[in-house]
């Protein structure tokens, strides 16, 4: 009986893992201990015990319930429900954003109009008006100098904790007294402590798809300047696939960095899959690189070719961990643009700040938001 239960639980946990719910061996041990206490004849009892011990979060609840019905209660008839969530059939009604009768859909068309003729004249014109397209070496140097000046503004927030310091600061009674013991209770020097200045960590994720083509050079200069200021800056680029390029940007000539980048990125200036790329970032790098001191910067025009639902889910994950999420959209400087392209609309609820990035001034205004 006990061995049977163990196998059953292992199979169930395996299925949960397969469906993307993180279940560790420790959770399984908890679950087993609970099941020994539970009345196994009562499915509700078992369900509640499992939900509690396997730490099923609200977002995983549907998957859990489905698998529980199928595997634990063994109701084969509900297998049709076993299709992974989000994998909607062709006949499935699409998201309300797409199906929306007038408002959103209308705007969407407006934005995508120039997009329709892909590399046509109007699209070119739209991008040409942005000064960054015409940047040369001298401007890049200027940018780096500007960034150096702004560097001090990146690190302005004082931490809440107190750290021991030499020299000026507040008196630290604990350390002072400890020191005083050496001189028979006579306080000779006061130990001091102070709130340390904290620098934000930055993660930059750049869109390099065709619609962002004109921005490439400038982005590179900007990111390199940022890296000089905040050393822990991590950089990713994506079009259809996500590539980590931090190491390529660390040193050397701009031209060398550019060509190294071009080699590393499979399809520079190809199509865009923002959602899937950000999801790849969320699942592979999020826990490692993003914490509550990290500001995530995303450069993209939000013209999503894939499923906006995936984009929303990815943004939700990133937002939950990061200090702040800033989305830089070069199209924003165009007065005709409204952030209702379906990718942008899906991401919008999870963005702390949506800002234009088309000239130096817009960047300068951005810098204060990069600190903690």
């Amino acid at each position: 009986m006990r061995a049977d239960l163990l196998t059953h639980l292992a199979v169930f946990a395996g299925a949960l893992r397969e469906a993307g719910i993180r279940v560790t061996t420790g959770d399984e041990v908890d679950a087993l201990r609970a099941l020994v206490l539970a009345d196994l004849g009562d499915p509700e009892d078992v369900r509640l015990a499992l939900r509690c011990t396997l730490k099923v979060r609200p977002r995983d609840e549907r998957t859990f319930e489905m698998l529980f019905t199928r595997l634990w209660l063994g109701r084969a008839g509900e297998r049709t429900a076993g299709r992974p969530l989000g994998e909607n059939g062709p006949g499935h009604p699409r998201s309300p954003l797409e199906a929306g009768p007038s408002g959103l859909a209308g705007h969407e068309r407006k934005v995508e109009e120039p997009e329709g003729e892909e590399r046509g004249a109007s699209r070119e014109a739209l991008l040409r008006r942005k000064s960054f397209d015409r940047w040369d070496e001298r401007d890049c140097l200027l940018l780096e100098r500007l960034m150096a000046r702004l560097a001090s503004r990146l690190a302005t927030r004082r931490g809440r904790r107190l750290r021991p310091v030499h020299g000026r600061g507040r008196v630290d009674p604990r350390r002072s007294l400890r020191r005083a013991l050496a001189t028979l209770g006579e306080v000779v020097t006061f130990a001091k402590r102070e709130h340390p200045v904290e620098t934000a960590r930055l993660v930059v994720i750049c869109d390099t798809s065709g619609s962002m083509d004109g921005q490439g050079r400038f982005l590179l200069a900007f990111v390199r300047a940022l890296k000089r200021v905040a050393r822990s800056t991590e950089v990713f680029v994506f079009n259809t696939e996500l590539v980590r390029v931090t190491s390529l940007l660390s040193a050397g000539e701009e031209q060398a960095a550019l060509s190294a980048l071009a080699r590393a990125v499979p399809d520079w200036s190809g199509g865009t899959r923002i959602g899937e790329s950000l999801m790849a970032f969320a699942s592979r790098h999020l826990s490692e690189l993003v914490d509550s001191r990290t500001v995530v910067l995303i450069f993209s025009d939000g013209l999503e070719r894939g499923d906006p639902e995936i984009l929303a889910e990815a943004m939700r994950c990133i937002r939950a961990r990061a200090r702040r999420v800033i989305w830089l959209n070069p199209l924003l400087s165009d007065p005709r643009y409204e952030p209702s392209a379906r990718g942008m609309a899906a991401a919008l609820p999870f963005i702390d700040r949506l800002a234009p990035a088309h000239d130096l001034e817009s960047l300068e205004r951005l810098v204060p938001h990069l600190s903690l």
């Binding site: 009345d39 009892d45 509640l48 007294l177 005083a180 209770g185």
Partner: protein, 299 residues
């Protein structure tokens, strides 16, 4: 486990907490497996109340640690009583005590100020209930520290040595989900997600907490809030708000919801200027009608 769950639910109801099966199961397991319970959910759904009721049921002390950003060991765990230490050092000087003997005295247990975590661990009279409230407000460094305390239930104070828990406390952690709790801490706990209550549950809660509210009023409040929560609000009212509201209405001798009463007391449930503004007169009329005649809302 079923009879035990029902027994616990009844006991909790006796203490004024209407629990469903999920809550009772989670509490039972917390007790049996001796693991902390992490409760997540919107503000005002009764997370903190769980710990309070648990303490009342166990007839033990509730020790509360309110988290905030920058919370550190000296507020959460222990702090030396410096002024007292200083005085003792001065006296020792006159007595001509040797440095080592003095240190022994000054770093004794009686010079230690116990903060909530240490208090929960060192309590001698049976296990306490430790409530770590709004753990999502503390930073990650504190989370890691909490993890250490919660896994071993022992604390090492350099001057004193290791203090082991006499009785492992019942631990309830709550989170408003303002940030994701780290995986390691989550794994160490049992997990319960609290949602806004169903209509029946909310009415039962109101009846139990505000006995002077009539059945009709409780039902109308329940329906009103259920419909209100389905709207897109900046801040969704929780059970705490509906209890406040019921109390306010009872105080004003209002037995049946009407537009005037709702407008006068809207501040009890809608606590955001924009939300109040967005709820126009016509919407309020619809909600009041719906509360009186549920079929109106359904149509």
């Amino acid at each position: 486990m079923r009879p035990e769950i029902h027994a616990l639910e009844e006991a909790m109801a006796g203490e004024g907490y209407i629990a469903d099966d999920a809550i009772a199961t989670a509490l039972l397991l917390t007790e049996d497996l001796r693991k902390p319970l992490l409760v997540e959910g919107d503000a005002g759904v009764g997370k903190t109340e769980i710990a309070k009721v648990l303490a009342r049921l166990k007839k033990t002390e509730l020790i509360r640690l309110q988290c905030y950003e920058g919370l550190d060991v000296s507020t959460a765990l222990y702090e030396w009583n410096y002024p007292r230490q200083m005085l003792r050092v001065r006296m020792a000087e006159r007595e001509g005590l040797a440095a080592e003997a003095m240190e022994q005295t000054v770093f004794g247990r009686s010079y230690l100020l116990e903060r909530p975590l240490l208090r929960a661990i060192s309590r001698r009279e049976g296990p306490a209930v430790l409530l770590v409230d709004e753990v999502d407000r503390a930073d990650e460094a504190f989370e890691a520290f909490l993890l250490e305390v919660l896994s071993d239930f022992q604390v090492t104070i350099p001057e004193l040595g290791t203090i082991r828990a006499e009785h492992v406390p019942y631990v309830v952690l709550t989170s408003n989900c303002t940030r994701e709790i780290g995986d390691a801490l989550r794994r160490r706990c049992l997990y319960l997600h609290l949602d806004h209550p169903s209509l029946e549950k909310e009415v039962a809660i109101l009846r139990s907490r505000v006995p002077r509210a009539s059945e009709t009023l409780a039902l109308q409040i329940g329906r009103f809030l259920k419909a209100l929560r389905e709207r897109r609000l900046m801040r969704r009212p929780g059970v705490a708000e509906s209890i406040d509201w019921a109390q306010a209405l009872v105080r004003l001798h209002i037995g049946v919801l009407d537009l005037e009463a709702v407008k006068a007391t809207l501040g009890c449930i809608v606590k955001d200027r924009r939300d109040q503004h967005d709820l126009g007169e016509s919407e309020l009329v619809r909600l009041v009608d719906g509360a009186a005649h549920p079929e109106v809302l359904a149509s």
